[in-house]
Symmetry: C3
Subunit: 135 residues, 3 copies
């Protein structure tokens, strides 16, 4: 397992981590398999989305914040970050990317994002590399 | 593949299954890899979120039920559980947890939850353990 | 890695791909493991949900389109498909299905769907097969 940390800049932010994952995979010597990317947090998640136009990330965060505002009637959790927890589960705590030829197989516009929903913080990311069935 | 069943208490509930998964992984003799947790249902899901303060789960369920109520204009599915199906896809039918040193690598506050959205029922959970690439 | 393409019929649609994945798995000669299904797109996703009553898919799409309409105040992304991007992240860019006895282990009502949110288009689907820890 490989781990690295990411500093997030504000309460809600998507921080791209594609290069950190790609760098690890490129040096790991596994030609074919799957890289599992996991965050050990409950108010942060991981997703794959467009990394070409930064307006996409802006609109993703806008949508999540509009639908799941920080305060809502009936919330009991005293830390005031219940919205962060639901956003984390909606994005998920992990993603998986296929590895072929020793590299991540991502689409032209795809990047891997750490999704921060209760920052700014320093977050951990774990990567585990699983080999494909041998041919 | 390892399977176990879970009894859910009401229509919407998160039932923690971390111990059942951990127990299987601890006895499986795989030092490093990934545990895949899968539910073979379409009105239940799996997610990872906080297991310290039960108010977090309360607020997660409150948010999901508020945004996706049981009845909504235009629903055609005659069983009356279309909301359960959308919630299941939002949480996802599986999660993956990295295994290192023969144990699940979870963050301090993370637990694995079976997400029931159309209970009470007895649900099945499958776990498959995948070995990491050898060093 | 195995890849195939799927033609989607309209802007929002779920196209079932269970048979394509099952067919590949059945011929791959791996008795036990996990099949990872991944779409290399940022306005399409993958989910597992009911494939018996087509009204379920109708209601899933209705719910997603109602909550995340094509236009919303504040959207900056000039392509006009910000809703497609958020829907893709909510469903996820991949799913995983356990393989046992050389076949996908799916529940009675479960099917694997390519989720199109900005069609009609021709989409790619990648499948990687990971072997379970040997017994």
């Amino acid at each position: 397992m490989h781990s690295f940390s990411v500093r997030t800049p504000r309460r809600s932010a998507f921080v791209e981590i594609t290069e950190q994952v790609q760098s690890y995979v490129a040096g790991a010597g596994v030609a074919a398999g799957v890289a599992v990317v996991f965050v050990p947090h409950t108010t942060a998640g991981v997703t794959i989305n467009e990394n070409a136009d930064p307006d996409v990330v802006h609109d993703l965060l806008l949508t999540l914040d509009r639908h799941f505002p920080k305060d809502a009637p009936g919330y009991r959790h005293a830390e005031g970050n219940s919205d962060s927890h639901i956003k984390a589960s909606l994005m998920g705590s992990s993603c998986q990317v296929i590895v072929a030829g020793g590299r991540l197989v991502l689409g032209t516009w795809q990047g891997i994002y750490l999704c921060e929903f209760d920052g700014p913080r320093t977050r951990q990311v774990h990567v585990q590399l699983l080999p494909a069935a041998g041919k």
